[in-house]
Symmetry: D2
């Protein structure tokens, strides 16, 4: 098996998750260098323990290293497009965390650079690799539910973000619902034509002051005629609530949440079971690993990446339309 | 216990259901007369077996009978308002099947007549008396979920109606969703301010030809700030799908469907459990009985009926707004 | 449809349940007379309201009434065998509450009288008519689980009986487990060859002082080679716990408990659902009605009753063996 | 953090599982050497990739290496006791796969050697570290169920072993039920006083010819008065069935199986969910990792191992008693 040499830009939370997945679970992929502008001793030690050869503050060491075949871009959002373009220019295969960029023109331009370079590109919508959502997708693809009529996605965070974060987050649609827009496209197998948002500030007034909302119900009209609905909240006190249902002509497929255990306690006071897993890294850890596996498989086999350029563009376009619907109070066509 | 003497107008499916509930389960209520313009031997025999004294084609025998305290109006929709007014004029307490009328002015006028007469009035939204939905309502009222943020109602019929029926049904919102509009008000404890409909014909093109839709996702904005969403389909092939969730600041409460048995069959082929109950009369039978119990209790105790005049009016107003939203493609304020 | 005229002996809890089932749900069966040695005004009024013609203290009015086709014996256990014999002698079809008698010879003699008289006889093991257990039985009969290998029955009461009652109850096996012995035979379709009991007094020492146990695990060896296990407790504080599993060569079928509602409340404190139904009359009401339906069907159609003479005898024989196993601490062959 | 140097004897399936757990998930533990009498290129390559320095056919290289602090004994059962004694003599901390030995005297002698040497000893009952069973244990320890009255364990393999394997397996009790005996002690917090077995050959006649059974229901009497029951089958066609319930004075706690996904497919044909995980390594992988974590924690902190010498002895004593009960058809006291 041909070994793939990897560079990772960004050693924050998600960069570390990917580095560990690759080290532990991807035979034939070797992380040579990890770069982070805030590189320090702690990160270096962690990297060494993981068997990573080089640590650096300068991401260009990765771009300029001819031995490196693939680059993971896990740095801050504002660098995604630029680093992607540089990596493409350097002929490297690219895995980039979402979103590629908040600006649609920048995304289009970046994807055009990637395309011309002929390198692999994958965007980090990890939920497509989750065991539950993939089981839904498989049921749909295997015709178990017939033609999809209604797609329902429930996506609720366990706790609201810091209002400071909210200000720079790009808003709930770009920061949180973007995963659900991707999921809606993934599960329906269709593009979204129109969006209507009913939103509110019900969780934390500070979020409102920061110019955002924290609760939303979003109606989607798909090009294939199906109807979708996403409900979002920034705070489900019982844990991270991540569910989906596809309802169609022959039936429906539906998931419930993952829980720490299946144990059920039965007392005079009622029947009690565990809350859903609370933390997204715990809930989705296996999906991050699977995401890496399929990226490296595509690189090695010269196949198509499972989540490509269009998947980087479309959810941002939908998020823009959602923002416009929220402002206008009217349904908005997604511009493609 | 003071005996209440009852007359029933209409001996169709729902009239019979109520007659049986009263005979079998309401001590202290005696059905004296049942009227149906299509009264025949079969119905008469059924009525006699149930201990009903008189059967007639002429509903006026009920209106004119001074012994009768309470009238159940189970005849065709176009007679509801008129019979309600006549019964009120005759000083009788009234239980009327929904809708009171498709026309808002007629409803208002009828309710005004009822109010002046000072008689009891209850409208037939039986789902409020269902064990599952009532458990949701109780959890909300007991503060278990805190302030409601999102109300989700799934309401899907097992099989589409005959297109001939569709033509005279008043449309999906007046015929089917009207129950869900009532449920949304019941569970949220708030009025609905605005409605937005995304609808489609996905089940049966004949329904489209009849001028109606068969699939809809309806967003609701409540006056208390909460957001609601109803998803409707005329055909859930796996059975009658009737669920609700209220999600709020302290948690959520959610129901699943009733099934014929709890048995689960586990084979190499998967784990299989029963479909939801298919037929609405089977699914909601206990709620029809409970509805009668509470009506007669209100009559006997001179208390408030659990579903009153406003509950007869509001869902029709919302259904009108929903129809307008479907036509215009825009969100519509409900006019009160 | 030929009308069946019915007499009921015993107007206690179960006699009333049957009377109401017949009145409300069995078209073509008319209760003419109800007899109870403690007949009083209250019972008489209840009976009149139900449309029962005669009430009496003297059960012989039923035995001697040539118009009466079927007798329900709902009096105290010590009268079951005698009344069954008298009813048989009088040529009446018989439904008798369980047990027919605690004494095996008396049962055999009584069944012999019944057989000679050529009348119908049904014994009151109502759980065979329960929706959940019948779904298990159907799955087994339809070959869904293949050859049965292990039959597991969980049967736990919500609250222990009064120690005074325990003294006259015949012991846990005759009073409580007898239903499970019947269920084991019903679900396995096989007779029980050997019984081993591990029992203890863990719920209430007074039960021990009354000479009984309150907790038991009972192993059964079936003639067809399958193995069974029943676990009993006199006190499941979370409610009436009634479950069964049949595990076999092709899979398994399993039931869970019925609950008042499907509502689930999700808070920071966990996910909470309703306890099982607490009271046996609520839990098994539908089965009592179904039991009556099938009895009267057998009478009308001159068919076989669904639970016959052998079903009255076998569980008592097994209960005896269980008692012997408890005393000796050894497995005991059931004597047939 | 003090680094612990590890040697592993046996590079079969379970040896590899432990090696990978340690490499990937136990910071501060370094595998220096792995020994296997069948050491070959394939295993060597796997070991190198995992960062293991030495591979050898001679386990004595581990015993004689003064740098090695801890030994994992993952070789064939007949070597467990001998290697444990040698490792103890060499002053090494020991993790040994179960069973330590089939012979009780050998176990006692070995434990005595371990004790004299003053080294840590842990026996490989991994299920104690499983998320579901630990949740049950925690509920019991936290008093959620009160005093335990009945402990029920269902333990069914997905497919029967090869009859050749059966011949050398030591029989179902030593090979399979031994885990359940350990679980019964773990969940009840009590020793087992008496055992009664009802066993049969229902899955595969070849297993019977090999002198074993494939189906069993085992009743346990605990010293604290509780009653236990284990049901075993060598073939649950729907997957690996691993459940437990502890029922007590204040309630019960119960687990269900882990499944590949929570997806549920609803069609006209019924509601279908995933089978339990089929393969024990998949089902219990996290427990193997947790088992290693707690072993190395005990070594590092000089604490008590979570599963010690008595836990190696007791289940074998119980298995012996179970074998005797099967042969005699009688309940058997466990000899301690």
């Amino acid at each position: 098996m041909k070994e793939i040499t990897v560079g990772i830009i960004g050693a924050g939370r998600i960069g570390k998750v990917h580095a560990e997945s690759i080290s532990l679970h991807i035979p034939g992929a070797r992380i040579k260098t990890i770069a982070d502008i805030y590189m320090n001793d702690e990160i270096s030690t962690w990297a060494k323990n993981l068997g990573i050869e080089n640590t650096t503050k300068d991401y260009k060491e990765i771009m300029n290293d001819p031995e490196i075949d693939a680059v993971l871009i896990c740095s801050s959002t504002d660098t995604h497009a630029r680093f992607t373009q540089e990596a493409a220019a350097a002929g490297k295969n690219i895995f980039c965390e979402k979103p590629l960029d908040p600006d649609i023109e920048t995304i289009k331009e970046t994807l055009s650079v990637v395309e011309k370079a002929g390198v692999k590109f994958q965007i980090g919508f990890n939920r497509r690799f989750d065991h539950n959502f993939r089981a839904v997708k498989n049921a749909v693809m295997n015709g178990k539910v017939g033609e999809p009529h209604i797609i329902r996605i429930t996506s609720r965070d366990p706790a609201p973000p810091n209002p400071e974060y909210v200000k720079v987050s790009g808003g709930i649609f770009m920061d949180m619902t973007i995963h659900d827009f991707d999921m809606a496209r993934y599960l329906s197998g269709s593009e979204i034509d129109e969006v209507y948002v009913q939103g509110a500030v019900l969780v934390d007034p500070e979020i409102g002051k920061a110019g955002d909302i924290d609760t939303a119900v979003i109606t989607l009209k798909f090009k294939n005629g199906a109807i979708g609905v996403i409900d979002n909240s920034r705070q489900a006190v019982y844990g991270y609530d991540q569910r989906a249902e596809v309802f169609g002509s022959k039936g429906a497929v539906e998931t419930s949440n993952d829980r720490p255990s299946t144990a059920v306690v039965k007392t005079a006071d009622g029947i009690k079971s565990d809350n859903p897993l609370y933390f997204f890294l715990e809930r989705y850890m296996a999906s991050f690993t699977q995401e890496m596996k399929e990226f490296f498989e595509a690189v090695r086999e010269d196949g198509e990446t499972p989540v490509g350029g269009l998947d980087a563009l479309r959810p941002v376009q939908i998020a823009k339309a959602a923002g416009e619907s929220l402002r206008s109070g009217l349904p908005v066509k997604v511009e493609y």
